[in-house]
């Protein structure tokens, strides 16, 4: 009986053999799946576990003036950042833990995190930027609890040494927005990056920004660095050598003072822009840190439009400045003889419309020279009538008006030189009568009124081109050849030449010299020893009240001139919105620039460097 019992039990044990074998095969199959079939996926996951890439922000290049004086530098700054990947706490918990210490609410933190929610989770999101020592101490004291979820991160920030000086030309940087990020190369631009927003900072962002470096480190389960695995050093951005002259810029802005206006100075033979001043400005340092919404709105709401670069972004009627181009056109077309004389009685009736000269009672008998010096309207009405609008427009365009100068800044306005075709197109929805070009409009255009409009840069540029004998060099704030030296390929178009007789340039320039030096309208621009030539302009403001001041109805004041009057080295355009007469409001601004330039040239000017002077590669 025992024997039989054991036989039965043994046969049941036999079944156990099969069960064990089946189970082992099942397990081996499982390991086969993970270790052989899917192995590469898990190798990748293991690497992701252990490797962490730490970004090293590259220093942005400095911005220098033409004498290598530093206009824009960097300063060290620290942000409190949050990394979502591997976070062990919810944002609510983090907000409850560090929010009170940083003075932030959960909602504020959430807003910032939400803005970056579509980005890879390992990218740090800035919770609070440019924090002070107190915040750094607060976060670092909680390192243990926060691990690598919230920490203090280094980020150099922009320092605008000259404050609002040349702010519209230089621009400012700010944190890249989600919109901007969409259109950029994701390998170069990441969320949280500082990026040039306007001005040169924007235009030359790729040159200034450099290349971020990184360190790849092996981390353990607590995200502690165990060893460094690889690294690439950051490459600092290139310094930007602008053509601006700090001394001239200061002089221009001081002369403009609290007025709303602008000034530009350039070298017509090189295209170098020496001064680009637009007033009022703002302090770009506000943007180097995140500007508060209320502060930004206050700037936005300023009726004087502080963000506009009036040198290139706005166009104005050139007023009497346009007479210079009329004179040149008249002489070139042969409708105007240098010896012609016109009797100005104070008004003239052309095509049934009576137009007045600015001087009640008239200038009497005037030749071209007197007409320029005293800015006689009647004289140029006649020139305009003889030239007719098509030829005026053709000459003006040829001389550089009515189209972009292609300066190295974004957002340039083209200005407008009207023609009958333009009017027909612009008024295409109106009646035929409204689309027609009238002779009286030509008369308006001949003294720079009516539809004709130019930017302040165009006025200076076209004047420089004319004074240099019909040679237009594309203006720039950064010399393309200097960029070429740094290895950047930049388009450097050849100068554009248009035919103009030397005698024409000579005759008109002589008149402009008289404007400044022989008791003309621009006397206040004169500089002893420096042959300044120029032309004032007073552009009538038709629509009043562009902003709510009493003097709003005042005309815009222009002065455009160059020096010396033969082979000019510098062209200046000065403009004061609602400044009244060009000779009183704008000419002194031009004087400040010419004067400083001349004193520097003759060694009578002690150049002041407020900031450091950059060491520059030879």
């Amino acid at each position: 009986m025992r024997r039989e019992e054991l036989t039965v039990l043994r046969s049941r044990v036999n079944v156990g053999l099969y069960i064990v074998a089946a189970a082992l095969m099942f397990l081996v199959a499982g390991f086969w799946h993970f270790q052989i079939a899917q192995s590469s996926r898990f190798v990748e996951l293991a690497d992701k576990n252990r490797f962490k890439q730490i970004q090293i922000v590259a220093q942005r290049g400095r911005i220098l003036d033409r004498e290598n004086r530093v206009l824009v530098d960097n300063r060290p700054s620290y942000n409190v950042v949050y990394v979502r990947e591997g976070a062990r706490h919810s944002l609510e918990e983090i907000a409850a833990f560090v929010g009170p210490g940083l003075g932030m609410t959960y909602e504020e933190m959430k807003e910032r995190v939400d803005k970056s929610k579509n980005e890879p989770k390992f990218r740090p999101i800035i919770l609070k930027e440019d924090v002070d020592v107190k915040d750094i101490a607060f976060i670092n004291a909680r390192k243990l609890e926060l691990r690598d979820e919230v920490f203090v991160d280094y980020q150099p920030r922009r320092k605008y040494l000259e404050g609002e000086l040349a702010v519209h030309a230089i621009g400012y940087t700010g944190e890249i927005t989600t919109e901007e990020l969409k259109n950029k190369d994701p390998k170069v631009y990441r969320s949280g990056d500082q990026i040039g927003k306007v001005g040169l900072e924007q235009r030359y962002d790729s040159i200034l920004r450099g290349k971020d470096g990184y360190r790849v480190v092996v981390v353990d389960n607590d995200q502690r660095e165990v060893q460094q695995f690889g690294h690439e050093d950051p490459v600092g951005g290139n310094d930007l050598h602008t053509t601006l002259d700090l001394d001239l810029q200061r002089a221009a802005e001081a002369a403009l003072g609290d007025q709303v206006g602008a000034a530009v100075a350039l070298n017509p033979s090189t295209g170098d822009i020496l001064v680009m001043a637009s007033k009022p400005g703002f302090d770009p340092n506000l943007f180097a840190t995140r500007i508060s919404a209320s502060a930004y709105q206050e700037l936005q709401r300023d009726p004087r439009k502080v963000f506009r670069n009036r040198v290139i972004q706005d166009h104005y009627a050139p007023g009497s400045v346009f007479k210079i181009f009329m004179a040149a056109a008249g002489l070139e077309a042969g409708v105007l003889d240098p010896l012609d004389h016109v009797n100005c009685t104070g008004s003239v009736t052309i095509d049934g419309v009576t137009k007045a000269c600015w001087k009640a009672g008239g200038h009497g008998t005037v030749g071209l020279y007197e007409a320029i010096v005293n800015s006689c309207n009647v004289f140029f009405y006649n020139v305009g009538k003889k030239l007719e609008i098509t030829r005026i427009a053709d000459f003006a365009k040829q001389m550089g008006l009515g189209s972009k100068t292609n300066i190295d800044l974004f957002g340039e306005d083209a200005g407008l030189i009207p023609t009958p075709d333009w009017k027909a197109h612009a008024y295409r929805t109106r009646s035929k009568a409204e689309q027609k070009w009238y002779g009286s409009e030509t008369i308006d255009v001949s003294i720079g009124q009516g539809a004709v409009s130019v930017t302040i840069l165009q006025a200076a540029w076209a004047m420089g081109g004319f004074a240099s004998g019909g040679r237009l060099v594309q203006p720039h704030l950064v010399d393309p050849t200097s960029l070429d030296k740094d290895g950047f390929v930049v388009e450097n178009p050849k100068p554009r030449n248009y035919p103009i007789r030397a005698s024409t340039v000579d005759i008109v320039s002589k008149g402009m010299w008289g404007v400044v030096n022989e008791g003309g309208t621009g006397t206040r621009a004169s500089v002893d020893g420096f042959d300044v030539a120029g032309k004032t302009g007073t552009a009538q403001v038709v629509g009043k009240k562009s902003y709510g001041k009493a003097e709003d109805s005042e005309d815009h004041a222009w002065f455009v001139g160059f020096a010396p009057y033969r082979n000019p080295e510098i062209v200046v355009a000065a403009f004061v919105e609602h400044g009244g007469h060009g000779g009183t409001a704008a000419a002194p601004v031009a004087h400040a620039i010419f004067d400083t330039y001349y004193r520097k040239k003759t060694g009578q000017f002690g150049s002041q460097a407020s900031g450091p002077i950059a060491q520059v590669k030879p």
Binding site: M1, R2, E4, E5, L6, V8, L9, R10, R12, V13, N14, G16, L17, V20, A21, A23, L24, L27, V28, G30, F31, W32, F34, Q35, I36, Q38, S39, R41, F42, V43, L45, A46, D47, N49, R50, R88, V218, V219, D220, N221, D222, V226
Partner: protein, 372 residues
Amino acid sequence: MPAPFEARNIGKDFDWALFAAALALALIGLTEIYSATMNLPSDVSFMKQAIFVGAGIALMFIVASVDYHSISEHIPWLYLGSLAVLIYTPLAARKIAGARSWIDLGPVSIQPSEMIKMVVIVAMARYLSDLHIKGYLTFNQILKAGVICGVPMGLILLQPDMGTALSYLPILGVGLLVRGLRPALIVSVILIVVLVVPVSAFLMSDYLKAHQKERLLTFIDPSRDPHGQGYQVQQSKIAIGSGGLLGKGIFKGSQNQLGFLPARHTDFIFSVVGEELGFVRGILGTLGLFAFVLFRSLHNAQTARDSLGLFIIMGVVGVYFFHMVVNVAMVIGFFPVVGIPLPFLSYGGSSILTAFIGLGLIINVRRRRYVN
């Protein structure tokens, strides 16, 4: 009657092959415990484990030398004493990982519930072999066997230590199956399990709120991973998967060395084996040794002199098998995370001592397979 204690003849007919396989497993375990803890400067796990392996081998020889019949004769007292220890344990124990399962004994702490498994194995074997039946078990007999196993299990559940309690089930299950259950009963048990498990899972998922589920699961297994249940298993899968065919090399597993693997020298030691030694050396090697131990033991059961010896071996095999399958399936995510160590490999004195005591029992039976 054979002499109860025959230390002098210990070498006679000793199952050296079985011992060698088990020792190899213990050495793999020691290596990987060293690897898993070498970066923790003050960690003494390796030294402790080495001492326990030594003590386990000593215990194995002692257990193997006392005739299992005399162990069986004294088993009622041992069994009652064990119950007393299990009652005493939660009262005296410190709370570790949510359970009061460990008793401090000087420098070491042991988990009585592990070692008492061996007492229950012999008790169960004695009861089942004394039945001397050829047919199927009656309901009464099944109930009695259930009580033998169920009482200590219940006491362990109260600690509460779900994993260890579960590891008592194979003693009952294997015992009953070998003793003989009506096929209809086996089929209906299987059917019930197949039906009840999905239905209760369905009820769990639909009728319980997340935190209620969490509470329930935490009650069942207090050592549950606080970072979320997926974390441990995910890291373990990464470790094993990235080990690939040949492994990353001993002491070179990044998941192990950088601390991404939780419980890597205890319950998850097998993922370290998988990561550092790979599929061929680590997995096939280790599972091959286990296969040898299990098949050899089953063979020893079949050649046992009497049914008592057969049931003792089958109890030990059942426990080994259960531990191995559950632990290995757990590290690759085929089974939920329960605190079940891998015999011979996982760090832990009680687990090692128990495994070697079991080995001693098997060798004991084998040595006495010839009626002398």
